[in-house]
Symmetry: C2
Subunit: 145 residues, 2 copies
DNA sequence: GTGATTGCAAATGTTTTGCAACACT
DNA sequence: AGTGTTGCAAAACATTTGCAATCAC
């Protein structure tokens, strides 16, 4: 299995784009991160390593990484797009606490299979899907009492 | 089954809010609409009936309608929130053609139940969920050949 | 009459874009 | 050298908010 870095390099080469220190740094920063970072949060982390990097470069590089299928945009319905390194990882969905933003990764073959069936039934060839479950976690429910 | 209009009136009364021509008009406009309107599109439709209504009133009223469980916000991940009248209608998800944007409403009790189970397993009380299936419809696949 | 509501314009917050300077190949 | 890239600031975009005038009850 290729490293994400190499996938990126290949993607850039294939599209006549250039490998730059900023692009390397931004990808490294995402890869070293367990959590789902917003562009703003990523910007802060990148700045710690190189204060000269601009916001715009973050956005532009994220777009490339998404396009290269290395990173996936997530929508937790709080107004910001978050990103996670997805290359080489198994697909999963998210269960999100709407109070504390706790985020659990879920994987359910039964649902995955059913989604395929539904798409097929309607004559669709499924490309991708997004599923977000929003709820309140046990901790937060107990806090309220 | 109560009419959505009456649900709204009750909701307003319960919260010491007032019934205004603008609020009536906005609800009517959404109810008369089959498609999923963005705030912008709704604004345009409302203006045709009463040009004096402001954007802000659209947003404020949409918030009320969502809160009253009459209308549901949809997120098709294209930067705009869309809305659909949901009161009295069964919950459904969306199957979207990424080529022609065709949009099919789907309903699958099996998936719904499974979602509940997954949430419960993790100690969550499920509030809502979003599921979007993205694929290419038969028509668009045939066009390509 | 009183408090909620409105339209407007200004503010907000995220993401995008134009541009001149600069860097990768 | 030449095209792609960068940082900056300004722009764009959807949405929210402050406020004085107005309206519903």
């Amino acid at each position: 299995m290729k490293m994400p870095q190499d996938v990126f390099i290949d993607y850039l080469a294939d599209n006549n784009l250039k490998i730059t220190p900023q692009r390397r740094l931004i990808l490294e920063t995402i890869l070293n991160q367990k959590e789902h970072l917003s562009s703003e949060e990523l910007y802060a982390k990148v700045k710690k390593k190189d204060a000269s990097v601009g916001q715009a470069t973050i956005y532009r590089t994220l777009k490339l990484l998404v396009d290269a299928d290395i990173v996936e945009p997530l929508d937790f319905a709080d107004g910001v797009t978050r990103y996670e390194a997805s290359y080489g990882k198994e697909h999963h969905d998210h269960l999100i606490c709407t109070v504390c933003s706790k985020n659990i990764e879920i994987m359910d073959p039964l649902i995955e299979r059913r989604q395929e069936e539904i798409a097929e039934k309607h004559g669709f060839k499924l490309c991708s899907h997004k599923m977000y479950l929003y709820g309140i976690c046990e901790e937060c429910r107990n806090k309220k009492l």
